[in-house]
Subunit: 203 residues, 2 copies
Amino acid sequence: MSTTSPRTDPRVLRTRQLIRDAFIDLLEEIQLEKITVNRITERATINRVTFYLHYRDIPEMIEKLADDMIGEIHAIVVGIQNQSRSIDMDWSILVKMLEHIADNSKFYKVMLASQRIPVFNDRLMKLFVDLITSRSENQTDFPSTLPMAVPKDIAIWYGSSAFIGTIVCWLREDMPYTPLFLAKQLSLLFHIQQDTNLLIDPE
Amino acid sequence: MSTTSPRTDPRVLRTRQLIRDAFIDLLEEIQLEKITVNRITERATINRVTFYLHYRDIPEMIEKLADDMIGEIHAIVVGIQNQSRSIDMDWSILVKMLEHIADNSKFYKVMLASQRIPVFNDRLMKLFVDLITSRSENQTDFPSTLPMAVPKDIAIWYGSSAFIGTIVCWLREDMPYTPLFLAKQLSLLFHIQQDTNLLIDPE
DNA sequence: AACCTAATAGACACACTGTAGTATAATAAG
DNA sequence: CTTATTATACTACAGTGTGTCTATTAGGTT
């Protein structure tokens, strides 16, 4: 994303970090609607015009911030997928994800839990949907016939929403459980759903 | 909420309806950030100052709109809870809820699915959390011991998020299933989770 | 040292906000 | 029927935020 080679000027990185920190800071204090470019640059101790050298406006800046953070999670996912193809691949992914969120809890809390940034939620949702979809496709040991059959897309909506929603609640309550414990519970709840139901394709 | 006796002046109701319709209309077309009082009143064919006679600003207006709509859902819930105390009480509630959402799909789609309004999501979430919480308390036929035990709060987070998230996805895809069918699937997925797990209290 | 580029400073036109004062029409109360 | 109240309309204005421009300073790279 933005951590690639073409951007090496330390001044640019410094400014972006200042803007990011100022924004997250403000997001903890005031409503998103009340946050202005004025306030951000004032808090970041940079010139207002400098902001426009990096982002067109606040929504675009938010999008870029989301890009970066989702990029980091994505790197975790593909990293684990490459290093181990074992049965509990998705389990390790979940733990690493929650640890990453815990490490950046201030960021995630405002972007996801306190002042909700829809773009950010969307990106995470897509990530989970893709993950669960590919997981169910690679799954050959599927229970074939059961009394109840839930359309695949509904089951995926259900599972993905449940994951993200639970993480959001966990962040809101200031992470009362360890990432490892929560990952265990989520895994438990999710696999019950997956294994008990026959997922049928909508077509 | 606002449908009570003290407010009978038809002019007030008319103005509020105009504002509401204009807002939902705009929300379908442009980003929430770009919506101004100017645009709303222009679209509503009312004077800009009139807006301020009803709401302090746009966030407050959104909050009031959410109040009204959540009030309607709440009325559905308590209505059914009073008329029937049967085993499938929560099932009837779910169907009626989804039917209500389908009836007001334009409103729900923008407020919940396309342009996310966090306040609205929060209210719905609280409603579901309360519903599931009271449901699990009144449940005497609980499975007592099972190999896995998930803390009650996590299970409630999981279930509530799953419900709302699934409804949101359903709205985004323009309701590809009937309310009745979706209610059935949600009920299925949810009861598997509830009945298979021993929910333990955090204390 | 010379060169490039980021960041700053000040200014500008423009849009939106929030509030004030006044006027008009409809409703409610006597 | 008359009067008080309420909702809305219209105009105006000061304050603030936006986005852009130009010229200048400072930092980093070679």
